[in-house]
């Protein structure tokens, strides 16, 4: 006897979660994660828009990195689901999961380059692992990606010989070689000076523009966030406090969100700040 067919998972807008959505590439539903007694995520719902720069903001330790690690099943939740183009990420067995992960390019906070490999070998690593390309083809692809990011002269250098900004760019080049559909940046501007931060922002925008990828950026650098974001989601107190377009976030009346943005020093860019100056607040 065959098992009874299960009802397809239906989202709150009536669409099926197990089919690709025209607008949302990643859909997170009811995600719950604990590490021992530390409750990090509580019933998190989040949508990531296809082809846009989606930024997740929040205080340090709020669970931003934990959240995005669920997208590619680097962590498994205690409850909830993540759907990427209609695929339930946590239902995948090891082999399909391995193939699925190639949809993603992850740029780590501190680049996570392999110390023992040169810049060229670092970038060639995913190609050697997952493609049957010849050495010369791999060399050409790596040179193209490094060249596009202004890293022509670094191919033979080791990660330890590079500056923080250059390491970030090499990390991005490595993430781009397999032509991922979704690029994730984990706090890409942490520890960089303002000019290097602006360069990294421009690098993200250029990569999104050139390779037409969906981007998810984790950050708490608000100046950077407002330079690059199409959509912003704020995580606070284990869940998504607010999510929307940049304009919607600017107009949000959530006191914590307003305070977060105001304290970052970029509030003067918004009408909300004017209201605050008038002593009216945003609520």
């Amino acid at each position: 006897m065959s098992a009874p067919a299960r009802d397809p998972p239906i989202d709150r807008d009536g669409t099926r979660l197990d089919q690709p959505h025209v607008r949302w590439q990643v859909r997170v539903r009811g995600l719950d994660k604990r590490f021992g007694t530390n409750h990090v995520l509580d019933a998190v719902d989040l949508d990531i828009e296809r082809g846009k720069v989606n930024v997740v903001i929040g205080a340090s330790g709020a669970g931003k990195s934990v959240l995005i690690k669920h997208f590619m099943c680097l962590l498994r939740p205690d409850r909830g689901s993540v759907w990427v183009d209609g695929t339930d990420v946590f239902s995948l067995s090891p082999k399909p999961l391995s193939t699925f992960r190639r949809k993603f390019g992850l740029v780590f906070q501190f680049s996570a380059l392999f110390d023992s490999l040169t810049v060229e070998e670092n970038c060639a690593f995913p190609l050697k692992e997952h493609t049957a390309k010849s050495r010369s083809e791999i060399r050409d692809i790596v040179a193209d990606r490094l060249g596009a990011l202004g890293l022509h002269d670094t191919q033979k250098k080791y990660p330890g010989e590079l500056s923080g900004g250059m390491r970030k760019r090499v990390g991005l080049a490595r993430a781009l070689v397999l032509e991922p559909e979704i690029l994730i940046f984990d706090e890409p501007t942490t520890g960089l000076d303002p000019l290097a931060t602006r360069n990294v922002d421009e690098m993200i925008l250029a990569a999104v523009d050139r390779y037409k990828v969906t981007s998810v950026v984790i950050s708490h650098d608000m100046a950077s966030v407002f330079r690059i974001a199409d959509r912003i989601a704020m995580i606070q107190n284990r869940t998504i406090l607010a999510a929307g377009t940049v304009a919607e976030i600017q107009d949000s009346r959530e006191p914590y969100l307003f305070e977060f943005i105001r304290t970052s020093g970029v509030a003067a860019a918004f009408g909300a700040a004017d209201a605050a100056h008038d002593g009216q607040g945003v609520r």
Partner: protein
């Protein structure tokens, strides 16, 4: 409020004092038992985690891709990396064992037996155990540091994000290298130790060359060397497994990596010595000395 001297309503509801005392004592005993068995539970937990890591690594053995380069690199690191220290320790172990044996046997005019007794002790116990201790201090510690640094700098996460299984990529080649290089290093330790023993006994202490060789052949059986080799496979596996586990589970920055490295050496050394007893027991029953 109740009047002074009258029992309050809460006094009526509360259980008798003797019951409270019994409950408190019961809870204390339970807490005490729990705390007393906690180290045992933690130890079982730790052993279980190592078994799981080993099983996960072995489960990747038949699966592609086979990265021959990783295996060769691991063999080079574990084997050649430990070679010089193993040879140095081997030579002096053989020399001092021989020296002590010659002086002990000389009281009975039996110094020519020094070669045989030294050879037997080296083949069955000293070569595999001391080689494993050298491997724990050198390769085990190095692997714990390397993997620990990769863990805290997110290089292991990077491997996973690039759809490369870190256990297959990092742990399995090292385990295989430990199991292959352990016996080779042990054999080299034994050979260099016997050369050292011969040098001290025959060249320095004037033991007759023919007698030394004759008694060595009489006392030392090839099966002794096989026993030592079997032990060294197990020790090589254990020492590298512990190093991999400590590195793979490192957390808490540089201090965490340092702690993991220390644990890799300490746990590795203790496990070698403890397992040596049990392994010897099994091997002596499987291959009794009289049969050998």
């Amino acid at each position: 409020m109740s009047a002074p001297g009258e029992p309050s309503s809460s006094d009526h509801d509360a259980p008798p004092r003797s019951e409270n005392v019994a409950a408190t004592a019961g809870r204390s005993i339970l807490v005490g038992i729990k705390e007393a068995v906690a180290p045992g539970v933690r130890l079982l937990d730790l052993i279980g985690d190592h078994v799981i890591l080993f099983a996960r690594a072995v489960s990747w053995l038949p699966r592609r891709p086979v990265r021959a380069g990783n295996y060769l690199e691991a063999c080079e690191y574990v084997g050649f990396g430990s070679l010089s220290i193993v040879l140095l320790v081997g030579a002096f172990t053989g020399m001092v064992m021989s020296l002590q044996s010659v002086y002990a046997f000389r009281q009975f005019q039996l110094e020519s037996f020094a070669g045989g007794t030294t050879g037997k002790a080296l083949a069955v116990e000293l070569a595999p155990v001391l080689t494993a201790l050298m491997m724990a201090g050198r390769a085990g510690a190095g692997i714990a540091t390397e993997l620990g640094t990769m863990r805290i700098s997110e290089q292991i996460d990077a491997l996973e994000s690039m759809a490369v299984n870190p256990i297959q990529f990092l742990v399995l080649p090292r385990l295989i290298a430990g199991m292959l290089m352990g016996p080779i290093l042990t054999l080299l330790f034994f050979v260099i130790a016997m050369i050292g023993a011969y040098f001290v006994a025959v060249v320095v202490e004037g033991v007759d060359h023919g007698q030394f060789i004759l008694h060595t052949r009489e006392i030392l059986n090839p099966i002794d060397i096989v026993q030592g080799e079997i032990k060294s496979v197990v020790f090589g596996l254990l020492v590298i497994l512990i190093g991999c586990y400590q590195g793979f589970n490192a957390h808490g920055g540089g201090r965490g990596v340092g702690l993991g490295t220390t644990r890799a050496v300490v746990y590795g050394s203790v496990v070698v010595l403890v397992s040596d007893y049990f392994l010897s027991n099994v091997l002596l029953r499987l291959i009794p000395p009289e049969v050998a």
